[in-house]
Amino acid sequence: MPDPTELTALLSRVALGDRAAFRRLYDATAPSLFGVALRILNRRERAEDVLQEAFVNVWNRAGSYSAAASQPMTWLTAIVRNRALDELRGATRHQAESLHDEDTGEMREIEDDRPNPIGLLEQAADALAIRACLDAIDGPQRQCLALGYYHGMSHSEIAAHLGSPIGSVKVWLRRGLARLKRCLDRT
């Protein structure tokens, strides 16, 4: 995990157009940020496009970064997640075309080889020492939280994935987020 103080210093230099600082910022943060985008998009080339867009954005917006308002990694992760979510949802609209095999007229499936994200949520909870609090959240709510956050799934995608009604998923997510907030605010 890169040192926040160093990242803040790098960002303030990037705001002034320092290219060497921009490269160091990229080297220090790109692997973590790429991991986040890859988890959401599940396709290397799409995640690389998102990473590229995000860093061009960072170069242009570094002047608006405020260390008083957010930690540098929080700010960078939010930029990457937002881009990845936009790409995922924009892509979903095109997927019907690109996956439609012209010869057979059949839909091809893209295999989802990502591990169940519940493990990531549990690891995060362990690292934050809030595992007991997380475990007290109902199973379906925890599933919704993990699929929504790590895989960027929408309500309807989670509903399809779990084979549950969308109404239930919305309730689980709303309650799950409220419970998660209480857990996270304990740290």
Partner: protein, 243 residues
């Protein structure tokens, strides 16, 4: 929707930061976030709260072409690549910079009486004295504040070309953005009397600004201590030497 309700903002911000706010609702919240500071604070609070969840995601190495593309698109990259992009590659930034300075000088000509300590000198000598001048523009690029100081003077004079309203309890703080180094605060701009205001600096313009190509203004609760990091800039602009 009544966005004054904190619980509604908090719920929207939670779904936005978490990612389940989608489509038009997501775009609407992004616009709201830019327009309403309370919405931005709520979103940042949720982003900070959820950020630790990304920690255990295994890192992965992107291919080297990603950096190459970023480098090229942000104006760096090898000379050969720049050549391929044609004259716009180097001319556009140069033109932008030149335009910023021309705009600064142009506004001074439009408002010759604004440069306060200059009035007498200009009348006596018929020329502008050696000075540092900055034209600060808002997020839309509209000229908003003209800052000027004689080269060896300790006061910076401001002419407000349009009103600037800081949020309640906040003040306008002027920042110098040096060529190499972190921004540093020059001080709080006193509320304008009419459309003018004068700030006394800790040193002369020459001492403080000789290596400063840009100025900026942010809204702060207090005058920042040395080494403090600025809040997002509300106004920015070139700082030019006029001599």
């Amino acid at each position: 929707m009544n966005y004054d309700r904190p619980e509604l903002l908090d719920r929207l911000a939670s779904e936005y930061a978490f990612g389940t706010l989608t489509g038009r609702a997501r775009r609407r919240f992004e616009r709201l976030r830019r327009a309403l500071p309370a919405a931005d604070v709520a979103a940042r609070t949720w982003e900070a709260r959820l950020a630790p969840l990304s920690q255990p995601v295994p890192p992965a190495q992107p291919s080297s072409s990603v950096w190459d593309a970023i480098d090229r698109r942000t104006g760096g990259g090898p000379a050969a690549t720049r050549g391929e992009r044609g004259w716009r590659g180097w001319f556009a930034p140069a033109l932008g910079f030149a335009f910023g300075i021309l705009a600064t000088v142009g506004v001074i000509r439009l408002y010759p009486s604004t440069v306060i300590p200059f009035d007498d000198i200009v009348q006596q000598r018929g020329t502008l004295p050696a000075s540092y001048v900055g034209l600060l523009t808002d997020a839309d690029g509209a000229p908003t504040v003209l800052a000027s100081s004689t080269r060896h003077g300790r006061t910076m004079t401001f002419k407000f070309l349009k009103p600037v309203a800081p949020p309640p309890g906040k003040r306008l703080v002027l920042w110098a953005l040096p060529k190499d180094g972190a921004p540093f605060a020059l001080g709080a701009i006193p509320p304008p009397d009419g459309n003018r205001s004068v700030l006394t600096m800790s040193g002369t313009s020459e001492q403080l600004l000789s290596n400063v190509p840009r100025l900026a203004v942010s809204f702060e609760d207090v005058v920042p201590a040395p080494g403090a990091t600025p809040s997002p800039f509300a106004l920015t602009g070139h700082c030019v030497k006029l001599w």
